[in-house]
């Protein structure tokens, strides 16, 4: 089960509101390579994993991604607090505002709502963990692009942290594949699916 801890993983203290920036950062909340998809992907892939190290890596990273979801939600919330009449008309934010006011809704930057079609659970160890390697890279480059679009140092400190976590997770998923491979058919890792063929 999960127990809530009433704190963030890393400090988020954004002094200046900036609705335009919020309207792109929302993509890491509910976008195609965002933290909601990341946490649900890993926490859902766990059940088919036959080896303890893989169950642990997916549980630990999936749980951490829920903490990142909270951090990204916090960024969007702080960037959109105390908005003026003029600020709600900001191009790019007005279309978000009309549906969600200053609430935090899981959607792509384009406005498309979060979709489970952005992730997969195949029930196959190597296929799932290979998707996870790609997912970490896609999240990493989205943070790169947010750094290109943002000139707020309070935001960039947090984005730098979140981006670096994707690199550490990539390393652990890569190691997880190696550990899995050691337990599989040494001549041909694709001879069976150990998550299904007993």
């Amino acid at each position: 089960m999960f127990v809530y801890e009433k704190k963030l993983q890393y400090p988020v203290k954004i002094k200046n509101t900036n609705p335009k920036l919020a309207s792109v950062i929302i993509s890491q909340y509910g976008g195609p390579d965002g933290e909601l998809g990341a946490s649900l992907r890993y926490l859902s892939q766990r059940y088919a994993m036959p080896y303890p190290e893989l169950k642990a890596v997916l549980t630990d990273i999936g749980t951490e991604e829920l903490g990142h979801l909270e951090m990204v939600g916090t960024i969007v919330h702080q960037l959109t607090r105390n908005l003026t009449e003029d600020q709600i008309k900001t191009a790019g934010f007005d279309t978000y505002f009309v549906d969600h006011t200053a609430g935090v809704y899981p959607q792509f930057a384009s406005g498309y709502p979060w979709s489970a079609s952005t992730m997969q659970v195949t029930g196959d160890i190597i296929a799932d963990l290979t998707e996870d390697l790609a997912a970490e890279q896609k999240a990493r480059l989205t943070y790169d692009n947010i750094l290109r679009l943002s000139d707020d140092p309070d935001v960039n400190d947090v984005i730098r942290f979140l981006r670096e976590r994707e690199i550490v997770h990539f390393q652990r998923f890569g190691e997880a594949i190696r550990l899995a491979k050691e337990r599989m058919d040494q001549k041909n890792v694709y001879f069976t699916n150990p998550a299904f063929d007993k």
Binding site: Y4, K6, K7, Y10, E53, R163, V168, Q171, A176, R178
Partner: protein, 152 residues
Amino acid sequence: MYPDNGSNAPTCPDRCGTLPECAPLAVPYVPFQQTCPKRYSQEDALSNGTLFPGLNLPFHMKADARNVVNCPLSELQALEFVLLELGLYLDTHQGDKEAFALFQQYAALEKAGREKYEATYGPLFKSSAAQSDCWCSWLQDPWPWNFEETEG
């Protein structure tokens, strides 16, 4: 058998990890981070987003990390972060005894740090609210997403 523990597994300097005897075909391959990797202090670890200098690979638009450990909450966040990072490392390096000993040390530091923090600033877990005078201690602001101008 764990590749990084093999006596014949070649190693290279800390940044590079452990290389295999021969690389497999047709399966993704990431080198193992070698055991006993170099570490940051807890403050630098939280600020950089990793405990391990060998994994710190920033983007050119934001290469340097600012020190964010400057208040009681961030001191606790730094301790918890080291625990989280060591735990994730141990998931794939369960044979690294030095890392496990460090995990035990940091678990004790984090427990003491959290109890001290909660005694002054209120509960972080619902169960800790039992140590306070009323349920209002769990309800009270700030919640984690609230911005406080006074915090600096």
